[in-house]
């Protein structure tokens, strides 16, 4: 097999979980007056991902499943470079486009059309690239004349549609998609998934976080299940969804 496009090795991420955090000067001064000089006292480490390793190869469509709070989104933020690992390494050999939130930076007072430019700029598009994708966004989002109205009057579904239409035009060879499809009606969700699948078929590598076993079984070639901050399953999609259903239905939190 070819070289992995993303290599995650022994990745561990802990957050500081403060029992009483000196978030203000008053707090800090009170502690000092009590004779507690160590500002790090009361800090507890809270491990979100523990020794997770996997490789993702070019052209794969990997689904990541896990219960709420298992560490899926943290993993995506680590891969996309928003967080830095506590220990372990992440090596990415291609440009990664994270779709963690649809419509990042949307401003309610601007029109949908203006927000396309704003959102595209935030996602890293240049001027020419944005101008080139505007027609396809107008078509995919199906907003019609509404596109010239301020988006504060849009429904959440319309917002999702607009955000997704911009995001799917990212040219990066790797796409990280985080549960963004939870919004929007069923028809739109199917349309988005179909679009993502189409991008996969055109040679992109996709990492998808979802709670939908159907989507995983239908599109993914591989599934990773995360539970209690560890990777508990890595294999074909069918086995992954079975494992996920096991976790969700037999072992309630």
């Amino acid at each position: 097999m070819s070289e992995p496009i993303i290599e995650v090795k022994n990745l561990t991420k802990s957050f500081d979980h403060w029992m009483d955090q000196p978030h203000s000067f008053k707090n800090l001064l009170m502690r000092i007056s009590k004779g507690e000089w160590n500002p790090f006292k009361g800090r507890k480490q809270f491990t979100v991902l523990n020794d997770v390793s996997f490789d993702i190869y070019p052209g794969e469509f990997v689904g990541i499943m896990g219960r709420n709070g298992a560490g899926k989104s943290t993993l995506l933020k680590l891969i996309s470079g928003i967080y830095t690992p506590t220990s372990g390494t992440i090596e990415a050999r291609a440009i990664i486009a994270p779709l963690i939130e649809l419509g990042a930076g949307f401003h309610p007072d601007l029109s949908g059309y203006e927000n396309i430019f704003l959102n595209a700029a935030i996602l890293g598009f240049g001027k020419k690239a944005t101008e080139a994708i505007v027609p396809s966004i107008l078509e995919f989002s199906e907003l019609g004349e509404q596109i010239y109205k301020p988006i504060r009057n849009y429904s959440s579904g319309m917002l999702a549609r607009l955000g997704f239409s911009v995001a799917i035009n990212l040219e990066a060879p790797v796409l990280l998609v985080d549960e963004i499809l939870a919004v929007g009606d069923a028809g739109f969700q199917l349309k988005c998934l179909a679009k993502i699948d189409e991008m996969h078929k055109s040679g992109r590598t996709i990492v998808l976080i979802t709670h939908s076993p159907e989507a995983i079984e239908r599109y993914c070639s591989r599934c990773i299940v995360i539970e209690n901050s560890r990777k508990v399953y890595d294999g074909d999609a069918k086995g992954g969804t079975a494992r996920y259903k096991d976790l969700v239905f037999t072992d309630p939190l």
Binding site: H23, S24, K77, I82, I100, H107, E114
Partner: protein, 275 residues
Amino acid sequence: MPGLMGTIEEIFLKVIYQTFFDYFCLGKKFLVYNMVGRNIKSKYDRSFVGLGWTLLSPMMLAFIYYLVFKKVMHVQIDNYLAFILSGVLPWAFFSQCVMEGMDSIVGNAGLVSKIPLPLQVLTFVNAVTNLITLSASIPILIAVSLFQGVPFGWHTLMVVYFYLVLFLVAYGLALVLSIGLVFFRDLRHVMALIMQMWFFATPVVYSFEMVPEKYRAVIHLNPVADAVSGLHTIFTDGRMPGINAILLSGGWAVFFTLIGMAFMRRRFLGVLEKL
């Protein structure tokens, strides 16, 4: 990335160039352009006077100072209207730029924790937004100083220099404060107090010459004092500011730029994890 090839000097130059490039967001022009546009539009789109508010409120303040200091207290400064405007408008810019810029990470937590953006971009966008509104003050200042009979000439161009100085000081300071605010949320209140004191520690309503000789050295330590008094010289005396004011204020601009650059890539402080 500096390659393995190349001399030490080449690598050094590359690093300097890259830092400069990142600090002024030169690789993100389209983003800066769009976000500045968003800021300006969103601030004023639904208000009646629009962009005018940014200038109108400091101008009202300047008028009040004019009444209090000139008409009531009889301050001995010529062309006091031009004097007060050329101090209050840049100061309003500076303080707004610092206070809003300080909020650029915490206030945009939803954005920076979801999109891998360089953290300095948001602070830079805020500073540029404010600089644009400040530049609208130039015609007002020129008009008022002409009205008061202050000559117009090459020295007027120096206004651009001093505005850039204020911009650089405010940007660098805001960048550091924006990171500080993540760790200490009440920095906001502390800074509100500091800005009030700073206003009176800066020759805005009084002139540099009114400061007793022995305290002048202290005033030079105020990063914006020389820039503001330079602006006073331009718009009330109608001449080129002294070389001291030019060099000292320029020095502060460089100093704050270097500080800002040092804090620019401090991701290892765990800023985003803290949000």
